[in-house]
């Protein structure tokens, strides 16, 4: 952030005008436009906004845009005051608490604002997090590190490997819980990836994010994080899981199994839901309430570190009218395995079947999941399903499409041949497969 453009967002004539006046973003300026005189702090401009305006922050705190076409003069009144991000002292550490490490990967779990300049800065160090969310000092002996800083939509299987390696290092280094702060868009994929890479870990690895930005007082970030640190440091189970709001209230945080969780809402706090299973626990009123049986216990001695993800897997959603050539084209990219998100019980158009058969014959793994999201694949009910089975498509039971894709990526990185991929794909490894299908528990809303 240090070598930031001094006139961020300004281009063309306006930029020339500002340069000529020798002003930079953050400077106090006086701008004459027609008969008016505006005084304020020059603000940066959004890159995508109409370039014809200069933005200043008035002394009363409001920003306004001044049309460049009216500007007759710009004068620098005072140089920029640098955003001040003073950090309060770290709250006293309670002794005897478990050591928990927070790894940030790009999701902003906490931030600071300088209201004078409008600057927002992510809080990433342990000291910063503790000063903003002081409750954490009561829960754990906290450490924090930055692994990388990217948008979650930019994550790749390489990033899963890096996260897995970092978590493994921390676990071996004595961490009693690991929290991974992650952008929410692909958090489900990463949680699934680490579920396969860190099998039966001795301590919990908890993913956490925020649906509502951390620069707002109402952000869900802090409550999600407090629950995540509580689970990481104190849960009797050691699972790869996701800690997010259960509903609109701040009172209950759901802990989802990493292979069973999916983002099901674009913006709401309760976007993350367990699919075809229940959350493994809830955190509420400062307590962890376990919700399912047969969890991997903390301190289990069966830990296996199995890293490695291949980039040769693909996840394809079938849609009506999809031409078979799409599958061909994907194969030509060097893809060795495809997860199909089919319709209903696991179907695609019959027109695609010859192509699918040919790909399978050439050694491509093709697995079937459902775009229904909820429910289990069954390809024996209808003819199309039976033909697809005959063509060599592997039904993936009740696995989430995204989890199936991550698992395929993991299998392709270690299996010697197609047969082994098939065997591994159908072997339950991290709770991703073969749950009993349960009826809906909540009563349907009555109109």
């Amino acid at each position: 952030m240090s070598n930031q453009d001094a006139l961020q967002g300004y281009s063309g004539e306006i930029r020339a005008l500002l340069e000529e006046a020798g002003v930079e973003v953050g400077d106090e300026v006086e701008i004459r436009a027609g008969d008016e005189v505006y005084r304020g702090i020059l603000m940066s401009r959004y890159e995508l906004a109409d370039p014809g305006y200069i933005v200043i922050k008035l002394p009363n705190g409001y920003n306004i845009g001044i049309s460049a076409s009216r500007v007759t003069s710009i004068r620098r009144v005072a140089p920029a005051a640098k955003p001040r991000f003073t950090q309060p002292p770290r709250p006293p550490q309670k002794p005897g608490l478990p050591k928990v490490v927070i790894v940030s990967t790009g999701g902003t779990i906490a931030s600071r604002i300088d209201y004078r300049t409008g600057g927002v800065r992510a809080a990433l160090t342990a000291e910063d997090l503790l000063s903003i969310v002081p409750e954490l000092a009561e829960l754990a002996d906290l450490d924090a590190r930055i692994l990388f800083s990217i948008y979650s939509e930019d994550m790749t299987p390489d990033h899963w490997n890096m996260m897995a390696a970092e978590a493994d290092k921390l676990i071996r280094g004595g961490a009693e819980g690991v929290v991974i702060a992650h952008g929410t868009d692909t958090m489900g994929y990463s949680a699934a990836a680490l579920s396969f890479a860190l099998q039966k870990p001795p301590v919990p690895v908890v993913f956490v994010g925020a649906q509502r930005s951390s620069d707002r007082p109402s952000s869900d970030a802090a409550t999600n994080l407090i629950a995540a640190v509580r689970v990481a440091g104190h849960a009797p189970f050691a699972e790869i899981c996701v800690s997010m709001h259960a509903w609109h209230s701040d009172t209950v945080i759901a802990i989802h199994r990493g292979t069973r969780v999916r983002k099901l809402h674009t913006s709401s706090r309760d976007a993350f839901k367990s699919v075809n299973s229940e959350p493994i626990a809830y955190v509420s009123g400062g307590e962890i309430k376990i919700n399912v049986r047969n969890l991997n216990p903390r301190g289990s001695g069966d830990y296996r570190f199995e890293p490695g993800f291949s980039k040769d897997a693909a996840l394809i959603k079938f849609y009506p009218g999809m031409p078979p050539e799409i599958l061909e084209a994907i194969h030509n990219l060097g893809i060795r395995g495809i997860i199909l998100e089919g319709t209903g019980l696991g179907h695609v158009a019959n027109k695609l079947i010859p192509t699918i058969r040919r790909l399978v014959d050439e050694g491509v793994f093709i697995g079937m999941t459902s775009q229904c999201i909820f429910g289990r694949i069954n390809m024996r009910v209808y003819d199309t399903g039976r033909y697809l089975l005959k063509a060599g498509v592997m039904p993936l039971d009740d696995m989430l499409p995204e989890t199936a894709y991550v698992k395929l990526s993991w299998c392709l990185a270690r299996a010697r041949d197609l047969e082994e991929v098939k065997r591994l794909m159908l072997t339950p490894i991290a709770g991703e497969l073969g749950e009993r299908s349960m009826p809906a528990i909540r009563e349907a809303a009555v109109a």
């Binding site: 436009a33 409008g118 609109h248």
Partner: protein, 635 residues
Amino acid sequence: MKIDYREIGLKVGLEIHRQLDTRHKLFCDCPTTPREGGREIVFIRWLREAQSELGEVDPAALFESRKRRMIVYHADTENTCLVELDEEPPHDLNREAVEIALTAALMMNARPVDEIHVMRKIVIDGSNTTGFQRTCVIALGGEIEVDGKKIPIQTITLEEDAARIIEQKPHEVHYDLSRLGIPLIEVSTAPVINSPEEAYNVAYAIGRILRATRRVKRGIGTVRQDLNISITGGALVEIKGVQELELLPKVVELEVIRQLHLLKIRDELRSRGVSEDDLKREPIKDVTSIFVKTSSKILRRRIEGGGVVLALRLKGFGGLLGLEAAPGIRLGAELAGRARAWSEVEGIFHTDELPGYGISGEEVMRLREEVGAGDLDAVVIVAAERERAEDALERVRERAIEALYGVPPETRGARPDGTTIYLRPRPGAARMYPETDIPPLPLPREYVEEIKRRLPPSLDEVAEWISRRYGVSKQIADELIDSEKVEIFERVVGETGIQPSIAASILVEHMKSLRREGYEVEKIREEDLLEFFRRVVRGELAKEAAPEIIKWLAQNPDKSLDDAVNALGLKAVSLEEVKARIAELMEANRDLVRSNPGKAISVIMGELMKTYRGRFDGGKLYQLVSQAVYGQVRD
């Protein structure tokens, strides 16, 4: 008390807030009418301010964060969506609201900004689910003329209305979300107002301009006036939430009296030689034992509940706490207000008001003895759990120290009687940052010019037009406008065809006099009024029934016109029934009819009105009776 407001350097600035009557809210598609009856959702939140990063602590933010309360929101799906729940980013800025605000701005000769930037203004008391209020400047630098004086309009902003508090407990506050997000225009004047009357006149003038847009909401809760008041040697005090225009002069006057009173007390304290150091050093003492057998219920209940009674001596304050400059304006009330707001205590007393409240003279003596209070000293006691009681007395100490320096700058809330109560410290510089979820909105010059060409007529012009069109006097037309009844008047006349003068007299005169009698006529639904006039026109109700019906509806705001008609026994009566009853009365007064027809008419009318008042039109009744009487006389 006669005050020379120029002499004391009174300066008042106004902030007038008014809801806009748009089809939907400022940042989502929810309706702005209080529709109810959807699914109720109750959810709980906590707010934490991201940070206060100026290296300094904002006093108002500290106040709220200290009181960090559980916030319980009640949402009705009829008028609330995920945007109000802060579960979805705001939609684009409502263009209809922008247009109304621009119209008002141009009518006040303000200059619209070239590009609107929506900001987030931090508010963490829970009244906004996000923890901030979205607000934007629409125009700057306007001016209006009031009684020949130019009043500068500093800013005109558009913002979202806050949620409505429905319940408060010590650690919990409940809000209803239906109001959250309704567009509000805020007009801020420069602090150039110099008298209570002028405050009224300026607010009235701004109100007339806003109403002239014909697109602002009317009725209770749609207007809110905030004031900044200062006098020479006093302090800038912000008073929030004056709902009634008529109350403004009183609020200003009482605030001036309050500030003058505090200055007088400051001088007295100084002459008594009271020092800040003494106050700071004064210990808080536990005096619970004195009150174990007290007959004060408040104290006993607290003690029995495990609480304590703590005392703080205020050296040199004797007699000054109870000194009253106007009803409710006492230093004692200031100390208690501060302690209540910060520490949420209730049992707080000072020696100037004791003995009393069940506390005996002997207890007061022992109290004074215990803390070593002399005749010129006062003692404040608080009964609560120890920690809260201590906290409350620290606030009392803080406020007492401020009394040595005169008037503390603070934010106060207006009460319906015009007095004010301490709310919180005045905030530091507004904590605002850009609302990055909403792109800036340019206001091209052509668009502004187009609005300028279509500016609505002023209310004076409207009054003239109403007067001409409906054949009512200019005075009635003005009253219709000022009482915010002109819109319903036009609807009533247009939709029912009733004689305009009848509608005007009921809507203006009847309503006004009933309001003066204390009936809350504002609570009556317009639909019920409309239906009343409809029935009058159809002959199902008599216009004379208006006062009874209006009273009843004002007292039963949840009930309908049908309920009123039933409750008041105003069931319509048929012409046949009336005629039959007239025949009966004619028979009974046969002699009188013959001997003195004039008298007979009034006797019969008197009888008839007993049963038919409000149920049958009086004029028509009179006509029927005179026809019958004179018909018979002629026979």
